[in-house]
Amino acid sequence: MPKLIIDNQEIDVQPGTKVIDAAEQLGIMIPRFCYHPALGSVGACRVCAVKFLQGPFKGVQMSCMIDAKDGMVVSTTDEEAVDFRKYVIEWLMLHHPHDCPVCDEGGHCLLQDMTVAGGHGLRRYQGKKRTHHDQHLGPLVQHEMNRCIQCYRCSRFYQKFSGYRDLGVLQIGERVYFGRYQAGTLESPFSGNLIDICPTGVYTDKPSRFIGRRWDYERTPSLCINCSLGCHTVVSTRYREIVRQEARFSEAVNGHFICDRGRYGFFYASQEKRPRYAQINGNEVSWEKSIQTARDQLNRISQESGPGAVASVGSVRSSLETQAALSRLCQKKGWQGPVYWIDHGQEMNVKTAAAELADELAVSLRDVEQADYILAVGADPVNEAPMLVLALRQAQRMGAKVCFLDPRPIGLPFSFQHISVAPQAMDLILAHLLKETIDQDTIKGLEPHEKKIFDAIPNNSHLVSSNQKLLNAVANDIRLSQRLVIVCGTDVVSETIPERAAYFARLLAKMGKQVGLFYLLPGANAFGAALLSDDAPTFGRILDEIEAGLVRALVLVENDPYGYYPDRPRLERVLQQLDLLLVMDYLDVRTIQDADVFLPTLTLYEAGGFFVNQEGRIQKASIAYQGGHPISQFSNGNHPPRSFRNQIPGKEAQPAWQALIELANENSATPKQGVRADILAWLVKTHPLFSKLPPDNAFPSDGIRINPGKDIHFRSAADRLVVPTLASESADQMELITVDWTFGTEELSTRSPHLRKMESKPCVFMHSNDAAQLDISEGDKVAVRSDTGIVSIHVTITDNMAPGVLIIPRHQRLDWQHLGASKITVSKDQIRKIREEEPC
């Protein structure tokens, strides 16, 4: 451990620590512009100069470039160093446009701070200022090049760190320019991070342009719930509205960055259309009245037809508190539910993932960065869990190989292998890969039940032989690697894959490798739902029961089946049959129109709460503000009303858990305080997994990980892995799958007007062979007919996907729900080219 002296204070640091960081550990903040812990040292800005008095280096040197070494004596206040830093600031300000008053960075600008701290108050330079034209970079990032201080952070982040190429440095000398070759929307889904890392106001947040100053914002630690990774964020609130969301550093999860879906996905919270008042049959009523009515009706139905006639549906976007309150309510009343899963397949996939994620296999995003080989099965990071891309990229930069086994046209900003096979064939291929990889010794040492699974892997089929070379190469790479991570999706994969991935991981561990398992789940709190859903039926099953008249009342808690249920006509029909539909939500979901009783709930920004991400990490979001109509909407842009009132307008909504507890009680006298603590106490008591849950005030910032292992309840046999399904190959059959997209499919972020501008037009992906056979060319419009309806959609043709597969995004502006199921098989004559204007 090097020991050095900085400004007369002694400190021990880890080997490899830069002097600038060693000083920071002592509380001495050496100025910096180009240095960034995630991007490393490059020595470009020269503002971190300090004087080395003793040790291996002498004189004025850059503290970001030099590793702390034993015997160093460093002065940050040495006259020569201070004078040099002062000059650096003066140089950087030579061409500064002096527009802080109209710059959105003002108030949290590193350049402002350093200029003031460096004592550079008056301008000496008498020459003219260099100027630059700005570029239009799309709807998220505003460009103002005159403010640049050439720290190269943006180009380093954009190209080196993330791997995207369309923004970088142009020109030389004092003319260097940071931008794109041609103006246009940035291609990276991580572009918003430019705003965070640029130390000046070159890149500023466009959606919150000219809205306010950092010092006026209430800044609260929060979480992103736009995918299952649960990145840490900090939200800025002002005048009852979230204005901006930025990345919050997290060692284990997202590091310094977040993706654009997360950054701009919060606008649902202040949507003008957001329902803010309780309703009965579409008429606004008081909260109490709604609760009372709902309670009476539910009790009546439960008395008339038994408690099983009431079913409740929970949500993977609800907090753990809400999920627990719902479980408790169902338990108390004997209702069916909580239902979380659309169909058996989704239930199996998610629960297997949660159950297989043993403590020794679970890895965080940060651990993924350390891997030297990554095998991704049925996962499309950019579209399903964007921040995983950056983790993979870091691993790849360090030399890791990345291989995907997936039917989709995987797009990543770096090189990787892609075995594109149809969804049905994936398990077979994975099983074969496993067989190629595992060595004889390990096989011999297997437990009998494990051996049985191994032996059941069928021998060659034509599918395997056509991929044999690739599989051999991959197997070889895996055998050569030391630190492996298997990433496994749960969306497009068949029911056996999550378990096979875990099986593979366990065998690799037996081979002496360090193995991690990293699942992707279908929602921010899908893990919590997996823990709390027990033996509840699937949503499809509940619909059957409603049709059969067995279920008469349905409680939808922050769950919008119109968004995900793949058979829209059936859903519409069945919901009409209910005697009571009770809806609780903070979104303007369509079910509100059908609801008999509606209760507005609070978002995570207003209610806070715990969420369990896909690695079983419980994380906490704090309360950012109290809710109510944002002032900007309340005053229509003009000044706020000049009247006093002691109620926040539009603040009737309550946390969903509050509503659920009020429903559980026999009268309305439920206190508003302490309810959350009660629920958590119940959770800790009822589910031993949560016994580790620390109190709110001692909650670690990176959360705590619970890995349930086999505590999860399953309804099916444990040894279902024995026979991998073999794809039935038929030349005129195509598998159709629906998939997630970065922008346009996820229910919360699609409510963001800014992300809507980022969405691509919905399209169906088709392999070029299939397109040629069907005589379809790029951009044609086709009608895909299924048993339940027709979807008409433009075609995108590509070669890097599995042939024989159709891929359709679950785009919010596409009626994909007419397909009837999220995975279907269509024969080729069900796909027909249509003219542009032809209605379907």
């Binding site: 020595g43 470009a44 800005c45 020269r46 503002v47 100069a49 004025v60 040197q61 850059m62 004078d83 040099f84 000059y87 650096v88 140089w91 950087l92 030579l94 061409h95 000496r124 330079y125 008498q126 020459g127 201080i149 050439q150 190269y152 440095v169 020109q171 030389i172 000398g173 004092e174 003319r175 260097v176």
Partner: protein
């Protein structure tokens, strides 16, 4: 190697032009310091030059006579360095254009006394640049201030270039 500067000029280069007197030379291209008259007989090898505090650089010798304004010559050289900087680090990228501006002002009669100290401080600070380009680039300015400070003062006092009668 080891040939005297005077010999190079007088024998190998054919001597100064008629009426021209040796004032200074750049012994090794644009990024070496001016050699003033007192070094006229110096031996042109690495060792001797190094002892004299000079460098042989590229060995491309550029000679200036007594009618040449060295401020203008330095301005010209600095112009070159300002354009050639790659733009990576701040001192070089911004420092050369700044010094170009100051030298231009001195040469064109807008000079102020404090420019001299700014120039010399900046020359020192440019040694803390990322690569060796900047320390080389400041060599002419450093030597201008070291050997020909009077000439610079004259520019500032007269509010014009003394070599330019217009």
């Amino acid at each position: 190697m080891g040939v005297r500067l005077s010999e190079i000029i007088e024998v190998h280069a054919g001597g100064m032009r008629d009426g021209a007197e040796f004032k200074a030379c750049l012994p090794g291209g644009a990024s070496t310091a001016f050699l003033p008259g007192e070094f006229y007989d110096i031996e042109m090898d690495f060792e001797t030059m190094r002892k004299a505090g000079h460098r042989l650089g590229t060995g491309a010798i550029m000679v200036f006579d007594q009618k040449t304004c060295l401020v203008a010559a330095t301005l010209n050289l600095t112009e070159f360095f300002a354009r050639e900087s790659c733009g990576w680090c701040t001192p070089c990228r911004e420092g050369f254009p700044y010094m170009r501006d100051l030298l231009w002002r001195i040469e064109h009669g807008q000079g102020q006394e404090e420019f001299i100290s700014i120039l010399s401080q900046m020359c020192r600070h440019l040694w803390n640049s990322y690569c060796a380009f900047a320390p080389g680039g400041v060599a002419p300015i450093e030597s201008l201030l070291a050997y020909f400070e009077d000439e610079v003062h004259a520019h500032i006092e007269k509010k014009k270039c003394p070599f330019n009668d217009k």
